[in-house]
């Protein structure tokens, strides 16, 4: 054990953010309640700092701490998405937290710590490092979900998430122990070497693989491990829901991809049937159950289950095209989902949020700009051109067809068509009906900036994706053959 400047430098963004999180905890006790919004600005500065550091580290492709930690363009791409999601979340949260009377300084510290957890996840080169990252992220989420301590739904959601999350963590850890028992190593690259030729230990590897798959599918909320999603997404404060549904899920996708494409690349034909099954089930449950929802947060939760199904299809064949499709998908998904939750949290009626679809009735008459922004997100989530969501689905289906699963792409397109119905239902409510409720659209400057950013990016991703495509192509990881 010794000092190594490279290791310290490579993990500088994580060190920054942990340090800033600690400082925030102390600052929070010192500054008066009226000045809490300074903590938000401070957090944004911290995230921008970390983003600059991550961009500076780009293209290095370093295995640090003797392979426990990997800083490569792939992980940096995901880190940058996570920073952007966190910044947008904080822009949304300023007036919202005061309105809901949950403006605690700890909120910002927990956001920063969960970001650190996600960074550790996407950079993990070792299953134990990966597990630590998942736990750090999840612990912060358990607390953030229960932030509305006086609201039964919020507390229930937090507790449910905590129980199911800890069960899944145990199952995941059990899977790691099987893999370690078989291979004698838990670094991802070490496992890859063993698993391509496991000999008589194949059953152990299979059990370990299936158990880790359970852990990942829980985190990306794919069927059959999706039960927590609707309740937790509905009960959590809407800013937190937006953050969980984007950053948390995207980080889980990154590790899912890294573990399955690197460690389990040797036995691809053992797991591709499982991925196909999970993907079809997710698309079916997500898109069909969402039709019956009247609560918009719940509907978006089912929609996010469906989107996990689409994205999972890209995991089937490890090649550059699938990787590009998945990266483009999560990039687009982040902007449109966090934006849609942002619109919901700005709808206010008598002290609570307007989270029912009913509350959006006739929005175009009363607040045309809000309705237009929501329309962009809904069309994009449904995959209607010319928005980013269309291109994202297009790339995914193309990659699936090229991987030789044309029938699966057809299934996906059918479910996408079913899914379009419930997104359009929201648009219809906003544009084709007369307003009746007492819901007002209440936005602040920071919220408007965040909405402009998310809606603008969603449109640009569909109309002029070239710069984003070039950027994503440049961060395709080094580990692809």
């Amino acid at each position: 054990m010794s000092f190594s400047a490279v290791n310290i430098l490579g993990t500088m963004p994580e060190i920054y953010l942990t340090f800033f999180g600690c400082i925030l905890l102390i600052l929070e006790t010192m500054i008066p309640k009226e000045k809490r919004s300074w903590l938000a600005y401070f957090t944004i500065i911290a995230l921008v700092f970390a983003m600059v550091a991550s961009i500076g580290l780009n293209g290095k492709g370093l295995p640090l701490y003797s392979g426990l930690y990997i800083v490569d363009p792939f992980s940096n791409f995901f880190k940058i998405i996570i920073y952007i999601a966190a910044i947008i979340t904080i822009l949304f949260s300023l007036p919202y937290l005061d309105q809901e009377d949950i403006h605690l300084g700890e909120y910002y510290a927990f956001i920063l710590f969960s970001v650190v957890g996600m960074m550790v996840m996407v950079s993990a080169g070792d299953l134990i490092t990966l597990f630590l990252g998942i736990e750090l992220m999840s612990l912060c989420f358990y607390v953030l979900v229960g932030l509305k301590r006086d609201d039964n739904r919020s507390v229930e959601a937090s507790f449910k998430y905590f129980l199911l999350g800890s069960f899944t963590a145990a199952i995941f850890l059990f899977g790691i122990s099987f893999l370690y028992g078989a291979a004698g190593t838990e670094t991802i690259s070490g496992l890859a070497g063993f698993i391509s030729n496991p000999g008589t230990l194949k059953p152990m590897v299979m059990v370990g693989m299936i158990l880790t798959l359970v852990g990942f599918t829980f985190k990306v909320s794919a069927v059959p491990f999706h039960m927590w999603t609707p309740d937790v997404y509905e009960g959590a404060p809407t800013v937190v829901t937006g953050f969980m549904a984007t950053a948390g899920k995207i980080a889980a996708f990154a590790v899912f991809l890294r573990v399955f494409w690197v460690a389990f690349s040797g036995n691809r034909h053992d797991w591709d049937i499982l991925i196909i099954l999970v993907s079809i089930l997710s698309m079916a449950v997500g898109n069909i159950v969402a039709i019956m929802q009247t609560n918009l947060k719940r509907m978006l939760a089912y929609s996010s289950i469906g989107h996990a199904g689409y994205a999972l299809m890209a995991l089937l064949l490890p090649n550059r095209e699938s990787l590009f499709a998945l990266l483009f998908y999560v990039f687009t998904y982040m902007f449109m989902t966090v934006g849609a939750f942002g619109v919901i949290l700005m709808m206010r009626k008598k002290g609570v949020e307007g989270e029912e679809i009913e509350d959006f009735v006739g929005l175009s008459k009363r607040h045309p700009i809000a309705a237009l922004v929501m329309l962009i997100f809904m069309f994009s989530l449904a995959g209607i051109p010319p928005f980013g969501g269309f291109l994202a689905k297009f790339y995914i289906f193309f990659a699936v067809v090229h991987a030789g699963y044309t029938w699966l792409a057809v299934v996906g397109i059918i479910f996408a068509a079913i899914g379009a119905y419930y997104y359009l239902k929201v648009v219809m409510a906003m544009y084709m009906k007369e307003p009746n409720g007492s819901v007002v659209f209440h936005s602040s400057l920071m919220g408007r900036i965040a909405l402009a950013l998310t809606a603008g990016t969603t449109v640009i991703l569909g109309v002029y994706p070239a710069p984003f495509v070039a950027y994503i192509k440049s961060s395709l990881a080094l580990f692809i053959p």
């Binding site: 000092f3 006790t29 010192m30 028992g181 230990l201």
Partner: protein, 123 residues
Amino acid sequence: MFSQSHPEHYVPIFLFLLVAVGFGAVSLTVGKLIRPKNPYKDKNAPYECGVPPINDARERFSVRYYVIAMLFLVFDVEVVFLYPWAVDFDRLGLFGLVEMMIFIFILLVGYVYAWKKEALEWD
């Protein structure tokens, strides 16, 4: 590494499992067979210091000591890690010193936070 060539290494674990299950099963069955069976109302009532129970025990009450327990945890964990470091101080050298300072800094943050949140006040 899992040793496929020596499955007999797992015999003690198997025996342990057998003894654990067997002990529970045997003591419960034997007890059931030989004890006198004479239940009546007072015997089945929950015992509460000899006083008849007044209401349901499932209600919320403030556990003052949990804050103390949490603070204790902070310092307890600190000491657990400080001892091995102190024992091996020479070998760990500057690296160990810096590492420990970072560790203590993080714990101090927790301490200052608890202090400022008035967790150390009794009321």
